[in-house]
């Protein structure tokens, strides 16, 4: 199954963000109720994921990480199969063996998801090498955070991609948090994009909470990678408004900083803009919310009905 061409209308971007938010809130609530494991959510970062993924072509390949819900859902993943995976059920994308942390969906072009911070960066050049040596059209998009940018693999990856002319769009979702450590405690500069110049890679920083700005920047970046066959780094400035791993009381978070970013919530701001521009009515907003809620309800029912993997799965798929 090849991925569907992504939706690009402003209304669809908003609906995708709402779906991601509702999906992650379902997990947060399920986790609080003891029905689901805790996950690393991307609440607050929806615009960064939706803007970039909607700039991609069906043949492009995506590498992501443990905070992947936005990338997967924007790419068209079935929330039922995702929730089944999170719950360790047989019908998950990875037969329940991944859980939330390393969900790959090859059928959607989401490959080699790793929860080791920086591992996506180490594997991206090889995926891009296959694309170029085997003459395939798609570029490679590698999502990582500011935490991964402080790993050696970030620097080794950019150096090799520049050296070997590999078609990689590096997307740094700078969400200001590296697990329980603020970005300011881990790196001297404000922006990861500044490092790209040292490797001869063009880069741009964009407001990651503005889905329309992200889409425009990602379209330009993807076009440049496609046409030049060389890497580009796009940094989306955003904020992880929930904790590192649910449940998390965020006692370590500066309240004023969190309030600042919550006031810039990507869903609320884009919805207000569409309403103000006359591209959306209040009735449509309500209908969209209902549609997303019922989609998640169906997904949750599917996941809960899915059985756990059979015992023989314990040692299946270790070797090819």
């Amino acid at each position: 199954m090849t991925p569907k061409p992504p939706a690009k209308s402003p209304q669809h971007l908003l609906e995708q963000m709402l779906l991601i938010r509702a999906y992650e809130e379902a997990i947060v609530n399920g986790s609080a109720a003891g029905k689901m494991p805790g996950t690393c959510t991307s609440v607050g970062q929806e615009a960064a994921a939706v803007g970039v993924v909607n700039a991609l072509a069906a043949e492009d390949l995506i590498l992501t990480n443990h905070r992947s819900a936005g990338h997967l859902l924007a790419r068209g993943a079935d929330p039922g199969r995702l929730l089944a995976e999170v719950m360790g059920r047989r019908d998950g994308y990875c037969k329940g063996k991944s859980g939330s942390l390393h969900i790959s969906a090859k059928e959607l072009g989401v490959v080699l998801t790793s929860t080791i911070v920086g591992a996506e960066l180490s594997m991206a050049p090889g995926v891009a090498l296959s694309q170029s040596m085997l003459g395939r059209p798609g570029i490679v998009v590698c999502f990582f955070g500011d935490g991964a940018a402080c790993e050696g693999s970030f620097h080794e990856s950019l150096n090799l991609a520049a050296l070997w002319n590999l078609p990689i769009l590096y997307v740094c979702e700078n969400n200001q948090w590296q697990a329980f450590v603020h970005r300011r405690e881990a790196m001297r500069r404000e922006h990861v994009a500044e490092w790209a110049a040292g490797y001869g890679i063009p880069a741009r920083t964009v407001d990651g909470n503005d889905v329309f700005a992200v889409l425009e920047a990602a379209q330009a970046a993807a076009t440049q990678v496609r046409e030049s066959g060389r890497p580009y780094l796009l940094e989306t400035l955003t904020y992880r408004t929930r904790g590192h791993l649910e449940p998390d009381d965020q006692g370590y978070v500066d309240k004023a900083e969190l309030a600042h970013w919550l006031a810039r919530d990507p869903i609320a701001t884009s919805r207000a803009r569409l309403l103000a521009d006359g591209l959306l009515t209040q009735a449509q907003v309500a209908a969209m919310a209902d549609k997303v809620a019922s989609h998640i309800a169906v997904a949750q029912a599917f996941a809960e009905a899915s059985p756990f993997p059979a015992a023989e799965e314990l040692t299946r798929d270790v070797y090819a």
């Binding site: 990875c94 063996k97 080699l112 180490s122 090889g126």
Partner: protein
């Protein structure tokens, strides 16, 4: 039969497999410099030098293997694998399983190790057992040029990540290598000498020490059977058990640290499955729990000698 060194046997296997399959590529630290004849034949896209950055070399191999290429990477010396552990162990070894079987990783990692060049512990560290302990990986260490060629060809065709260790002490020893297509399945040990009194199990250069010990023992009327494991994972358990059930005595020999080495696994296997056939306790001979010194006599002393192996076997045969 043509004679090749183990180093040239590796080159011959690479050449044949790259001719056979256009998706086979090779890159690593100086491979295009040292094996420039491969660049001449296959071009600079399929044979590449890399930065001295083991992590990204291995990671690139993992990404390429999962998406259609069959990379062989040269990471030079086994201790450098420490820089590539995440890519080999967490990515290549686990992402097939964690993805529910969506990916395969047909890649080979070459690394040299063992006594012979006096390079010291940061270039000589027999770390084979680390990878045996990690799921999803296969581990090979040949003792002859012929086996190196046949096993490397099989490793390149294998759908799994293979750690392929080259014993420094054997690298420039010549040996007969059959011409043409010759492959050995991974996981098949060789009985390199048949005997009824005691089983000597080893891999890498200490196979030769076992053979020398067997010569010494033969002159004293003891017939030793020598098994070359060739692959450490999969491990040819049937060959080991079959021999021990016949001889009733076992000496396991390797250059790697004895502590939690392959020998410990083999001793446990035999104790669990062939205890009733044992006529004497199992003996393990391995390297010390110490980094390997550069000084030649100390380096050589870290390797079980033919004399030590023969002495252990004689002791068992007196039971």
């Amino acid at each position: 039969m043509p004679t090749l060194t183990l180093y040239d046997a590796v080159g011959a296997a690479l050449t044949e497999e790259m001719r056979r399959d256009h998706n086979v590529i090779a890159f690593g630290e100086g491979i295009a410099t040292k094996r420039h004849e491969l660049v001449d034949e296959f071009g600079a896209l399929r044979i590449r030098n890399t930065p001295l950055a083991e992590g990204i070399i291995a990671g690139t191999a993992v990404g390429a293997a999962a998406t259609g290429l069959r990379p062989v990477v040269d990471l030079l010396f086994a201790p450098f694998l420490c820089y590539a552990m995440d890519e080999l162990v967490n990515s290549a070894g686990k992402l097939r399983y964690l993805s529910g079987g969506q990916f395969a990783f047909p890649l080979v990692t070459l690394a040299m190790t063992g006594a012979g060049w006096g390079v010291g512990a940061q270039h000589n560290h027999n770390v084979e057992a680390w990878f045996v302990h990690s799921p999803g990986l296969k581990v090979v260490m040949p003792s002859t040029p012929a086996d190196a060629k046949a096993l490397l060809k099989a490793a390149i065709r294998d759908e799994n990540p293979v750690l392929f260790f080259l014993d420094i002490g054997l690298l420039y020893q010549p040996g007969e290598v059959p011409a043409g297509e010759h492959l050995l399945p991974l996981g098949q040990a060789a009985i390199v000498r048949a005997g009824r009194d005691v089983t000597l199990v080893s891999y890498g250069k200490t196979v030769h020490h076992c053979q020398q010990a067997a010569d010494q023992l033969a002159s004293q009327g003891i017939a030793a059977e020598v098994i070359d494991l060739r692959s450490l994972k999969p491990l040819d358990e049937a060959a080991i058990l079959g021999s021990v059930r016949k001889t009733g005595r076992l000496v396991v020999v390797h250059e790697a640290n004895r502590l939690c080495g392959i020998g410990a696994e083999i001793a446990a296997l035999v104790a669990e499955q062939a205890f009733a056939d044992l006529k004497a306790p199992i003996v393990r001979l391995g390297g010390p729990d110490a980094p390997i010194a550069a000084s030649y006599p100390l380096e050589q002393a870290s390797v079980p000698s033919a004399e030590a192996i023969a002495e252990a076997a004689r002791r068992l045969c007196s039971h």
